[in-house]
Symmetry: C2
């Protein structure tokens, strides 16, 4: 007769988060062409090689003038030159003349204002000005956006379109970014079958593997999915050893096989081999494991529970922040907000991660489905996770709650 | 002597948005394996082939019992069978016995409750129950999450990790998605030079091309970048005709070359060829163009202004919604919120799109940089666009404003 002791000590969410984050070190740096940098994370500050604007230029299509020459408007002046954008041999402006100038074209030496074409008769040989410009009008000064040597983007920035734009504008042909963490995603369980196969009673379609692989990619990692690994411990370890040669994998992420029951291949394979299996004070997602396995080259292993919702929530809580930290991103989660809750939640002794739908207009969040860990249908309709702290004694409607935006 | 008339009529933002959206039709449908569907947009509802759960199963590791047999707890019963997850030949439970059962394993016929192992002595041959379970305790009922035939995901859903999870769980090996709109991105201007080349006075580094290509990809499109096309109209059109053979491109997106000045190749090439050049009542991003060009196979063309900030903002306002609509996404922009503004803005007769930084804790947004269209440095540090309606007469601190989250 065996006896399973009731588990008493639970690890806090923050403590387990730190344990998981410590399994990854900062990723090495690689240079990528700016055109392939979308979604990558800067490994170093981007310094401006040139100022923006890099020369005084016109903010309008019109005429470059000395403001003093037009002070007595209406005034007519001869047009001495024509300056399209990109002209590199701009003649200086002589007193008593105007230059026709296009938006973005360099302001000629001697000019101190631009009169928009709409405020003139648009003349090509001579031009008549209806009104007097203030000195500096419609002139963009060199360096008023960015000065040479300015830091335009800091290390840890995720490169979206505007960031790629500014890096290109200050002359970066390539940018230094962190390599994507390579994550081997494994789903275990003899009850899992592939889509396309009819289900026998007791079987379920494998869903955690593709779900977690997508979550890894979304978090900036690169995922490889290994499905239907055998439940036998030696075969299981052998299969992983084959795959994880010489640092080809930065993190092994498993789901399932970690609860208190028998026939738990992940737990059986990694117990005593460097992975600590614990109960974390959260709901869903209590049973967690993390550690380094010497037989797998010391690679970090994170074992998530097998329920799809538990698996996804614990990815968001533990693995996404670890991947972001390894990439050098300073905030552990993605976009977050603090809307008002429209649900009246029950107090709970553990940190709860509920699923919610946001209403941007009213600034509120509504809970979706229940707290149970098998309600995947509701998770798929959710827009955010609602974080309910473990010390919340009540959560009346109208309370501000922390929410994390989900991808999709 | 030529004369340029002052432009009087401005097209509204919403009107131009509709014109741009009409250039794209819904993208054709293709089936992709579920493992490659991240970020794609569903073209049809996903219907559950199986219920979730597909069979009554245990929510805990423990013992399946008839609740009536344990009503007089403490009680001891013989353990008649062992049911791991995935067992497909589960024997029925006879009265007065218990089955050892694992999380997710099928509930045997005859059982109506599960007693967690923690509430027992964990016996293998005989098991002692400390407390009586309620009927139905720790049992997940077939179909309580999703019933067979339920719509688990609706057409137009962007597939993130949870959505991929639920589609896989209900048995989808592939999902029908809309093809990514193929966008040819062009940046024009003789002042543009490639990064790595030293700048001469009057020249600037080309940045709109890579920026807009990244924005297209972020919006779910597939971008090809054509840089440094010649300024000569015939060469320009020839180069495009070569590339845009037989529907290989769904949309041509240009930046620059559209303002009121001379030497504007985009305007010169497309005026009278199906593209209408207008002033839109917005700031930045007033000069816009859109239409279909017969000589390019009737392909839609959108011409954005050349200032980087104008270019990016007008992408967000016009092109992102058009791409999303072509993909079948129902909301025109990405995630939005309505934080309180901490800036005191000036009223402006046009719709303004300012750049802002959000504070999730206080639920506020702060303006970054000024409204000028050449301040790319500030755009790259911004987290959102702040939408200031054209009819706003004042915008005191504390006003709720619409914001659109930027990628990056």
């Amino acid at each position: 007769m065996a006896s399973t002791p009731r588990s008493v000590d639970r690890r806090s969410v923050d403590e387990h988060r730190a344990v998981v984050a410590a399994l990854l070190t900062p990723m090495p740096v690689e240079d990528v062409p700016i055109g392939q940098a979308r979604g990558r994370v800067l490994a170093a500050d981007v310094i401006a090689n040139v100022a923006l604007p890099s020369f005084d230029n016109s903010a309008m299509d019109g005429y470059a003038v000395r403001a003093a020459d037009v002070a007595g408007a209406p005034v007519e002046l001869p047009v001495a030159a024509d300056i399209p954008a990109g002209r590199t041999d701009v003649p200086p402006l002589h007193p008593g003349t105007a230059h026709r100038i296009m938006t973005g074209a360099p302001l000629p030496a001697g000019a101190d204002a631009v009169v928009p074409v709409e405020d003139t008769d648009g003349g090509l040989d001579r031009v008549r000005f209806a009104a007097a410009p203030d000195p500096g009008a419609h002139v963009r000064r060199a360096g008023e956006d960015v000065r040479t040597g300015d830091v335009v983007l800091t290390a840890g920035t995720v490169l979206g379109a505007p960031q790629i734009g500014v890096a290109a504008a200050v002359g970066s042909a390539t940018v230094p970014v962190r390599r994507r963490p390579r994550v081997l995603v494994l789903s275990t369980g003899s009850e899992l079958v592939a889509a396309g196969t009819p289900l026998r009673p007791g079987q379920i379609y494998e869903s955690n593997g593709p779900m977690l692989a997508a979550a890894v990619e979304d978090a900036g990692g690169s995922a490889e999915l290994l499905r239907f690994v055998p439940d036998d411990v030696e075969e299981f370890l052998g299969r992983l050893r084959d795959r994880m040669t010489d640092g080809a994998v930065d993190l092994l992420l498993t789901s399932g096989g970690v609860s208190a029951g028998a026939y738990e291949v992940v737990k059986d394979a990694f117990t005593g081999r460097g992975v600590e299996f614990v109960k974390v004070s959260m709901q869903p997602g209590g049973p967690q494991g993390a550690g380094r396995v010497a037989e797998l080259g010391g690679t970090g292993v994170v074992t998530l529970p097998g329920n799809p919702v538990s698996s996804h929530v614990s990815f968001e809580v533990f693995v996404r922040p670890a991947l972001r930290a390894a990439l050098g991103i300073r905030t552990p989660t993605g976009p977050s907000s603090r809307p008002r809750s429209v649900s009246t939640g029950r107090p709970h002794p553990r940190r709860q991660f509920r699923r919610g739908v946001l209403d941007a207009v009213t600034g509120t969040v509504r809970e979706l489905g229940g707290p149970a860990s098998h309600l995947l249908g509701a998770l798929a309709r959710a827009e955010c996770l609602i974080v309910v702290p473990e010390d919340a004694t009540e959560l009346p409607a109208g309370t501000r709650v922390e929410t994390w935006l989900l991808d999709g």
